[in-house]
Symmetry: C2
Subunit: 341 residues, 2 copies
DNA sequence: AGTTAGAATGAAAACGATTTCAATATAGTA
DNA sequence: TACTATATTGAAATCGTTTTCATTCTAACT
């Protein structure tokens, strides 16, 4: 290949010192317009590109941030990534992505890129790791941001929506349609999101003076299959319910499948509401009611905050970012019914 | 933060030279089991992690490969990425992703990571850049792999399916259902894929002795909106056609929308077949017939080949990888009809 | 013109690993 | 035991920048 040209090559050809070339490129210290022009001319002539590794080594930063997501093919996460990517890109940061496939070990291993200084910071979207582990990294001065969960550490920016609040909205909406036996297919029971959503569910029931039946709670794994199986378990209990609140759209997909197998008509016999506004949801038959979170914005705002904090442009005051969700009522819950055996 | 420990710290504490520690870590040259154990013990004790930038600089590689896709939220691309990511990961490579949002400039700019040595190689999925530009990079000894297009350069591995072949299958399938006026919504007219798909379309018509009507061809931009608009243009021509072959599922989504607006029944009044087997397709109403490409496998095989070629483990003989596609017949084309005005 | 403050530039150190090459230890053979 | 061939180890160079600190230049002021 063509011998890679180095900063010293540019320097000698331009008749200056390497330091000057560096200064031209990073316009840090002042350089005379004249020498700047001279150096730039040579840089273009030679097509010089600074070596990233050398730069990283000397400057002690890599200008890249990592993003860990449970599943890149889920549109929720890919939208968040888009937001992160665009903002990062505009600030000259690169983005390396890790799709953990819901594997906590892989998530942990990815965090090692922090310790090897391969990345300057990391954004964890709906992390699987315990707060404890994450806090430990933050204690060691690594930069971490979280999407979708709140972690209390002054170095960790978080962005989230109010799970309790929108869950109450969902339930209220269903109650408004006449439902009183409302099942919930929640995420895995130890996830913080899940407990918040359950809290909203319970709070709303209470508000509407509807008795709570513990049998109406099931947990899935946030996947289509998990939703399918959870719904089958609900059916097996032979209890009355006329609506299902699914903790995400993906699991609602499983509910749809089970319903079609059992000949249950949505929304006439069963109302369904999900969360996430997955790309698929509006194309379902009937279109799925869901809670829309501003995914792109969440990614964008958080990465901005994280970069600011990394560069110490920001006080740690408002490191908890909250955004509003919105209930989208579609065909899967637009029908007033009485109930179902 | 805790003072980052370096290889020399490990070395002194273990009573050996830095070189030995390096050898233990990279088990290249032989080290006595005894000293190896001694060094490993200290490494673990101190929790030593080698600095990536220093490593990259000295070894002249970064162990990361870049991936450029037009749209990360399209399940076609995210599946390819999954395949790439998993294999790369297993070979100790990191993956940097660039979502170009169909922006050719962004694609070009990303290739700069090659010249700055930020990445060791790059995989372009359905690239927008001209062959010329890509070939130029390859000529400068940069490692590039292509998914979904064939580029003739001994250094560029490619993986693709036979567009002509599966297009013929699609058309034959439609003809088998009794269709004789078959419209095609192709990709942008200058894309190689598009011309291949058109070739397959024409070839199949000829084979079945069906006259070709140029008005039945429209081009979209591979997005929902593009498909919608292309279909509207077809309708505006007031010509007879009873089936549409859409160059991807995304555009077929637009066809569905237009049909629902115009009260056109799929598949009774119009058969629709797409390409890609997008995650959404089987959930549509009716489910969309489509051509499935082994996306995950394509990503996986190509990255494997690319890495092999980068490390010169491989001759350049079989750098063109071909995989089979499969026509999935679903509800959007399972109805025999005569035609439509 | 001479002095000096401040700006522009250069020389050399530093970043933290790998790798080459020389030196030493080990084992095998006579 | 002495010698040689080989396997381990260490010293020092190296990768290509940025940055510190010293030096030179410029211009402004007396």
């Amino acid at each position: 290949m063509d011998m890679k040209i180095k900063i010293v090559d540019v320097a000698t050809k331009a008749g200056v010192a390497p330091a000057t070339v560096s200064r031209v490129l990073n316009d840090s210290s002042k350089v005379t317009p004249k020498t700047k022009a001279k150096v730039m001319k040579i840089i273009n002539e030679l097509g010089y590109q600074p070596n990233a590794a050398a730069k990283n080594l000397r400057s002690q930063k890599t200008m890249t941030i990592g993003v860990v997501v449970p599943d890149i093919s889920n549109s929720y996460f890919s939208e968040v990534i888009k937001g992160i990517g665009n903002i990062a890109y505009s600030k000259k940061y690169k983005v390396v992505i890790c799709d953990t496939e819901n594997n906590a070990e892989k998530e942990l291993e990815f965090l090692n890129l922090l310790t090897t200084r391969t990345i300057d910071g990391v954004i964890m979207v709906a992390p699987m790791l315990s707060n404890e582990i994450i806090l430990n990294f933050a204690d060691h001065e690594y930069s971490i941001g979280i999407v979708g969960r709140q972690i209390d550490h002054e170095r960790i920016p978080c962005i989230l929506t109010d799970n309790v609040k929108f869950s109450m909205q969902v339930i209220s909406h269903l109650v408004g349609l006449g439902h009183r036996e409302i099942a919930i297919i929640n995420g895995s029971s130890h996830a913080v999101d899940s407990s918040n959503r359950l809290e909203g569910y319970l709070k709303a029931l209470k508000e509407h003076q509807i008795p709570f039946h513990p049998e109406l709670i099931e947990n899935g794994d946030f996947n289509e299959t998990g939703g399918y199986e959870a719904f089958k378990r609900l059916l097996a209990k032979k209890i009355r319910f006329s609506a299902v609140y699914s903790a995400n759209d993906e699991m609602a997909l499983g509910v749809y499948r089970a319903c079609s197998e059992h000949g249950i008509q949505i929304p006439m016999q069963l109302a369904v509401v999900g969360v996430d506004n997955n790309r698929i949801s509006k194309y379902l038959n009937p279109p799925l009611s869901t809670v829309n979170q501003p995914k792109y914005t969440m990614g964008a705002l958080l990465v901005e905050k994280l970069i600011d904090m990394m560069n110490e442009n920001e006080d740690a005051e408002n490191r908890i970012l909250k955004v509003e969700s919105e209930l989208l009522i579609r065909g899967s819950s637009d029908y007033k019914i009485k109930g179902r055996e």
